[in-house]
């Protein structure tokens, strides 16, 4: 975590959210009579990140890697087990009760599933007013009404929506309501947890554009959580890639795409389908073997070593790499990666190999012996490197 320490001293004024070594461990309970904790799900296990005022920070990673938990922990909706979240100068991870509640005015959340995140029994009006009331922003009804209209207009909903209930809207409109609700209290930070993944492809763009537009108008800071790398890259200034509770790579969005350094980022990028047959036909595809290990029992050393095609003996299995700036020409300081061999991989010195997966499944490698239909799915196929 030395890298993180360095960062905190950088430009404190500019940083809105400073997450320091945050951990969220969910206890696994079992026991006679009284529940006894027999283990933990290491959902988030030591993450440092800074979000600057006005920027959009994207967080990607596969299902279950802890993105949502991290997002919630930052808002203290999931009390962190360890670590600090300094928001605008206050450590919110340590806040409780009324103090925390007051602080919430400045940090809001937009949820993945627009329907389930809206109380089905409240009309849009009461949904929107609720937050304002909670923070004493409603002075008189007239002003409140004007404010509601303004909000709806900002998210592109007609004023008639106020008297309606969430189930009467389409998916995209519901997400707009969710966004309006977050905006209602004039927040500085909005954590958007998969804001578009539940939406139909054709309306995703509406919401993405809306988010960007609102950022421009209100100077918002975003933390956008998503599993769709394309979406994240599209809207984010900086992107963090998570794997099994920790950040494995962090860079400006364009840098990350131009030169992914972590083997996992590379695999992830190569796996995202592109709606273009030309690209699809020629692209490099790194097929990973096996599945995400359980966060309750994460592998020792580098968390990715069980699936990593570039895994090197011993060090990867024992040492957990920290996020660091790599010393490669042309790679900016803001591009950090948690891999022991990032330089070797980038230079091509190290070549990918067949993964003998362990932990997840001891017999994984044997499948080839029996004339598998799918061929060497366990190896990296490099059909065409651009």
């Amino acid at each position: 975590m030395t890298a993180a320490a360095e960062q905190t001293h950088a430009q404190p004024g500019d940083v809105l959210v400073d997450v320091q070594g945050i951990k969220v461990h969910f206890p696994i309970k079992k026991g006679v009579i009284f529940d006894k904790t027999i283990g933990y799900v290491y959902a988030v296990d030591g993450v440092d990140l800074q979000i600057r005022r006005g920027e959009t920070y994207g967080l990607v990673g596969e299902s279950g890697c802890g993105k949502s938990t991290l997002g919630r922990a930052i808002l203290n909706l999931e009390p962190p087990t360890e670590g600090k979240v300094v928001f605008d100068g206050t450590d919110i991870a340590s806040l409780r009760g009324e103090e925390l509640r007051r602080k919430r005015q400045h940090m809001q959340m937009v949820f993945q599933d627009p329907l389930s995140s809206l109380d089905p029994r409240q009309s849009v009006e009461s949904l929107l007013l609720e937050g304002m009331k909670a923070h004493g922003l409603v002075k008189d009804t007239k002003a409140a009404n004007a404010r509601l209209r303004e909000l709806l207009k900002a998210v592109g909903l007609p004023a008639a929506s106020l008297q309606k209930y969430p189930h009467e809207f389409s998916g995209g409109q519901r997400q707009r309501i969710g966004i309006a609700r977050a905006l209602a209290v004039d927040p500085q930070l909005i954590v958007a947890d998969e804001p578009v993944s539940a939406l139909d492809v054709s309306v995703q763009a509406q919401v993405i554009n809306l988010l960007e537009d609102l950022q421009d108008r209100f100077g918002l800071t975003y933390l956008v959580v998503a599993h769709d790398l394309a979406v994240v890259r599209h809207i984010s200034d900086r992107v963090g890639v998570m794997y099994l509770g920790a950040l494995v790579e962090e860079a400006a969005a364009d840098d990350l795409y131009a030169a992914p350094m972590h083997p996992y980022t590379r695999a992830l990028m190569s796996a995202v389908p592109v709606p273009d047959p030309v690209v699809e036909d020629r692209r490099e595809r790194i097929l990973l073997n096996g599945d995400l290990p359980s966060p309750a029992n994460p592998p020792k050393g580098c968390r990715f070593h069980t699936r990593c095609p570039w895994r090197q003996p011993t060090q990867c299995d024992t040492d957990r790499p920290a996020l660091r700036v790599v010393s490669i020409d042309g790679v900016p300081e803001t591009h950090r990666v948690a891999c022991h061999f990032a330089e070797g991989i980038a230079s091509g010195e190290l070549q990918p190999h067949k993964v003998e997966a362990e932990v997840v499944d001891p017999h994984l490698g044997e499948s080839d012996a029996h004339g598998s239909l799918i061929g060497p799915a366990t190896t990296v196929e490099v059909t065409d490197t651009p």
Binding site: A205, D254, M269, S367
Partner: protein, 351 residues
């Protein structure tokens, strides 16, 4: 309405499954009849992958279920032809259809966990197909089932045979489903959003598996998805559905290079691409599916279209086929009436 039967493309052999003018009308007690699928025609040849794309509710699943004869027994009316190797599947008795399912026609569903019986071991779920269609005993079928699991890349198949679905990871479950569908070597495989519930890295594995399968065994694959990216990588031919009808068809390179239907066009323009330029605003398709017009006397997509013309709201567009491609649009992108896909179409539309 000028729906013609889809003329088989003779370029690479005979169609194995040819769906013609398939319509499914749902009629619930006391409600208006509702055509979820309306005159859909397409065909698929051995070794070919045909994609069916479109957003939620466009009738993709209903189409596939109709072909498989799996729609609920009551409350719907299916018309049209699903010609499989000379027999019309839609005319078969339920018993005969039962004989075909699993043997000639295989199907893979979206959510691998809910599609597997949680209380029956994987092995039994694979062998039961063999027992049913190959007349094998459970004992004889086991080694074959093991072989199938192995084939789809499930490690340690012996152990997995005895496992229950919840003990498998998402990717493995989907593989198990594929193994089941493939156990009797069906000639047509319908995959209904087989990767939607999976992570990207796992999705890549499964797509690879399906691609190899079609290539190696000559199975005809109907790939249903809403993800254009998936289609771009896998399908030979793509059908785009909207509001229960196919609105555009084309070979994959043609379709992606020059989408002609405003919906296809809008779709391509509204999804961010990993390889695109960042910061470039997306052009959303306005509105949502709920805005659809009925097809009877209009184009269903007209309310969301960026270049509608008057006739769009008053007349049903016909399905015009031209070799491998086909289109259902009054004012295709690039046609004289409308505007080519210019980025500033939004401004034009202001008028």
């Amino acid at each position: 309405m000028t729906t013609r039967a889809y003329a088989a493309d003779t370029r690479s052999g005979q169609a194995l499954l040819s769906v013609r003018d398939l319509s499914v009308v749902f009629q619930r007690h006391g409600e208006q009849p509702f055509a979820a699928v309306d005159g859909v025609s397409f065909e698929v040849r051995p070794g070919q992958t045909v994609g069916l794309v479109g957003e939620s509710g466009s009738g993709k699943s209903v189409t596939s279920l109709a072909i498989m004869g799996l729609l609920p027994a009551r409350g719907n009316r299916v018309t049209g032809v699903a010609d499989f190797d000379g027999t019309d599947l839609l005319k078969l008795s339920s018993g005969d259809m039962r004989d075909r399912r699993g043997k000639d026609l295989g199907m893979i569903f979206q959510d691998p966990l809910s599609s597997l019986n949680p209380v029956v071991p994987i092995g039994v779920q694979v062998t039961e197909v063999l027992e049913r269609h190959k007349g094998m005993s459970r004992k004889a079928a086991m080694p074959k089932a093991r072989e199938m699991l192995d084939k789809v890349g499930i490690p340690d198949p012996d152990r997995r045979l005895k496992d229950y679905p919840h003990q498998l990871s998402g990717g493995m479950r989907q593989r198990a489903l594929i193994a089941m569908a493939l156990a009797c070597e069906p000639r047509v495989l319908i995959a209904d959003e087989p990767t939607t519930a999976l992570d990207v890295t796992i999705q890549a594995q499964i797509l690879q598996l399906l691609g190899d399968l079609v290539r190696d065994s000559g199975t005809a694959l109907i790939m249903i998805t809403h993800d254009l990216g998936v289609v771009a990588g896998l399908c030979d031919e793509v059908n785009v559905m909207y509001g229960g009808r196919i609105v555009e068809r084309g070979l994959r390179h043609d379709l992606f290079a020059a989408p002609r239907h405003p919906y296809t066009h809008g779709l391509l323009g509204s999804i961010p691409r990993l390889d695109g330029q960042r910061g470039e605003p997306l052009i959303p398709i306005p509105g949502s599916v709920a805005d659809n017009l009925p097809w009877d006397h209009a184009c269903a997509f007209a309310p969301r279209c960026f270049q509608p013309i008057d006739v769009c709201r008053s007349q049903t567009p016909g399905f015009v086929e031209d070799g491998a491609s086909a289109l259902r649009c009054h004012n295709p992108v690039g046609s004289p009436h409308g505007h080519t896909a210019q980025p500033d179409h939004a401004e034009v539309n202001d008028q």
